[in-house]
Symmetry: C2
Subunit: 216 residues, 2 copies
DNA sequence: CACCGTACTATACACTGTACGTTATGAACG
DNA sequence: CGTTCATAACGTACAGTGTATAGTACGGTG
């Protein structure tokens, strides 16, 4: 048999290949067999390094989280928070698979912890008590996750002409009698499904609310 | 052949059965073949009523959205907004599959539009301009979606003893030197992964920020 | 050289969604 | 009542999936 030599594989190599495939062919079409084929190896070879598909997902997620820049040290805390949230969003936009990886699995891994550490450190340094810092961290994280996932989802929809056409059609089929606001605000709704402005709008609402609670 | 009589199926019946299966066996284990088996019918019978799995998903989602109560008419707008967000969260908690149905597919369907209509109506009545109303709607929706999805995800994790044990272990393996804040705030972080308080905390931040922009 | 752990292979199983072609049935009509 | 016809449900088949299990050959160690 054409047996591939030993030690050609490694967790890092597998993760890199998996990431490439997710980005080139889409997260939904991703499969272990695809990764194995790309590496010129049988599907079961991957099980030497990862117990199952989910563990590989976790590894890819942690790898991506490692790409996040450190928190800027020389800024007021609201700007630091903004920076953290924006870089996470940016990373998710650059690697759309990250949205699904974050949504579908619990957080774990050192790189992921590093990100949490950065944000929590900023909040503690700003003087927030433990409970408020933790609550704020969760709130900010879920906001970034939810709003950016949504943005990615809608952008993908817009790229598929068939799906997009049907979405427009179902929008326009709404009667102005039953749905006056939706119909009236349709253009604005279409415009606010994503983009930096939309993201910053929500983030600023959160930060404004948070600043009202600034500790003495 | 034991042929089931005609007209035993209907979109409503299929949707109800699909929903039951998603809730009893979990959304991930859901399959068209499972629905067909439950209905005592071949898998292909469903294709008479739905073009594919995604269309069935959409129908189930819209069915669930129809369960949302109307916006209370006799309250100040911040309380109305709060009510809408809370009922959506509650519905998601009662039907955990809704989180995945909302996250994975674009919005469409009349019931879904009805919900948007309610929230947009409140915001317009409060005096916000078209753009702000649309932005606020998107922000609130993605916040509820993100934070509640996260809560459901974590709750599911906690029910699986194996996954939960590993999560705790990876938490405790973090060195207090490299991750001082995460380690110090571990109990608070564990406590803020869900619950009404956590949800309301973020919602109040948003509403507080929003009230600063209340139109004259 | 012999040995052994292990990195990889091969085979197999139980599934999935769904394309395709067929068949029987309930309603409509002469 | 008998015939026709659209179509609801059928069976078969295909190309996939993740992964359990068992086998094989290679690299490093005695």
């Amino acid at each position: 048999m054409a047996r591939t030599p030993r030690n050609t594989l490694s967790p890092e190599l597998i993760v890199r290949t998996a990431l490439e495939l997710m980005e080139s062919r889409g997260t939904d079409a991703f499969s272990l067999r695809g990764v194995a084929a790309e590496l010129g190896v049988g599907p079961m070879a991957l099980y030497t390094y990862f117990r199952n598909k989910d563990e590989l997902y976790d590894a890819v997620r942690d790898h991506l989280m490692g790409l996040l820049p450190a928190v800027p040290g020389d800024a007021a805390w609201p700007d630091q928070v903004r920076a953290v949230c924006r870089s996470l969003r940016l990373l998710m936009l650059q690697h759309p698979c990250l949205a699904q990886l974050l949504a579908g699995r619990p957080l774990s891994g050192h790189e992921t912890a590093r990100v949490a550490e950065g944000l929590l450190g900023v909040l503690r340094a700003a003087g927030f008590d433990a409970e408020t810092a933790a609550r704020t961290h969760t709130t900010l994280f879920t906001y970034v996750l939810g709003s950016t996932s949504w943005e990615i989802q809608m952008a993908a929809e817009r790229r598929d002409p068939e799906a997009w056409r049907r979405l427009r059609a179902s929008m326009e089929s709404l009667s102005a009698r039953d749905f006056p606001s939706v119909v009236e605000l349709a253009p604005e709704l279409a415009r606010t499904t994503g983009g930096d402005e939309q993201f910053d709008y929500g983030l600023d609402l959160l930060l404004a609310g948070l600043q009202l609670r600034t500790p003495a």
